[in-house]
């Protein structure tokens, strides 16, 4: 029987049903489970300044919409969907100056379609962590993610940084899995080149 399972041991879906029925401790446990992930997602899609507002809006929406949660997706995916929409709404409403494009960091090829960079240049990305001070790399990483085109940033954050599956990201963004793969791929290409650039200018 669900009612005898302590909140900390209950599944998300059980807690969601209890919370929808008015059990505050069940809702508090769900908040405890997801607040750090939602905050991290908000920081990655918006800014550290906007993230606390996104966090609050997300859990308010979760609370209000709990009665309509039908368990068609996992509870976590449902929360990520609400958080993503809240973050994107915030991003759209904030006046922000677009950063320089990352297009110039895409890989280059010659007329025959061969890499123009040398093997040593192509693998330099892997040295980012040893070449850059940790705090510098953290700031540059956030800057690089922020400079991605909007279309690529959100699927990249959800798929590669938050670790969701491609099909879950597709459901959250209401696009096909192939579209998620294509957009995440473009983001990876740009950021790979961006990291390589950071190492090169450091040398």
């Amino acid at each position: 029987m669900d009612g005898v399972v302590p909140a900390a041991d209950a599944s998300d879906e059980t807690l969601a049903a209890r919370a929808a029925a008015g059990d505050d401790s069940a809702f508090e446990e769900l908040v405890r489970r997801y607040q750090a992930r939602v905050f991290r997602l908000a920081c990655r899609i918006t800014t550290d300044t906007d993230a606390p507002d996104v966090l609050q809006e997300t859990f308010l929406q979760v609370y209000r919409n709990l009665p309509s949660f039908r368990g068609e997706s996992q509870f976590g995916t449902w929360v990520y969907r609400i958080a993503t929409n809240a973050a994107l709404m915030h991003r759209r409403s904030s006046a922000r100056r677009p950063g320089d494009s990352l297009e110039s960091f895409l890989p280059g090829f010659d007329a025959e379609g061969r890499h123009t960079a040398t093997p040593a240049e192509l693998q330099v990305t892997a040295r980012a962590e040893e070449a850059l001070d940790r705090q510098v790399l953290a700031a540059k990483a956030r800057d690089g993610i922020a400079r991605l085109p909007d279309l690529y940033r959100t699927p990249f954050v959800l798929r590669d940084l938050e670790g969701l599956g491609t099909s879950d990201v597709a459901r959250i963004l209401s696009v096909e899995p192939a579209t998620v793969r294509q957009r995440v791929h473009r983001a990876r290409l740009m950021l790979r080149g961006y990291l390589a650039h950071l190492v090169e200018v450091q040398q």
């Binding site: 505050d24 991290r40 609370y63 890499h115 192509l122 330099v124 940084l161 793969r181 990291l195 390589a196």
Partner: protein, 84 residues
């Protein structure tokens, strides 16, 4: 040597890693990368990129933000319930 060029191989990388390529295309890509030092280096750095950015952009929830969320939700859920 397969007839995959570096440029077309790069475009297939995500699908390759997600296991959604047809077997013959996958085999052609494997063959190309095995014989192309540049692509081998590129694939390695492509695979490293998400982890480096995930680790570098990780943040923890500050205690004051957590406390603000708790008090915000207490106030808003009480008022929400009292409207019913």
């Amino acid at each position: 040597m397969s007839d995959v060029a570096c440029a077309s191989g790069v475009e297939l990388l995500m699908d390759y890693l997600e296991g959604v390529l047809p077997p013959d295309v996958r085999a052609a890509l494997d063959e190309h990368v095995a014989g192309c030092e540049r692509c081998a280096a590129f694939v390695a750095s492509y695979c490293d990129t998400p982890r480096i950015l995930r680790d570098a952009s990780a943040v923890t929830l500050p205690p004051d933000v957590e406390a603000s969320l708790a008090s915000f939700l207490r106030a808003r859920t009480n008022s929400f319930r009292n409207r019913d």
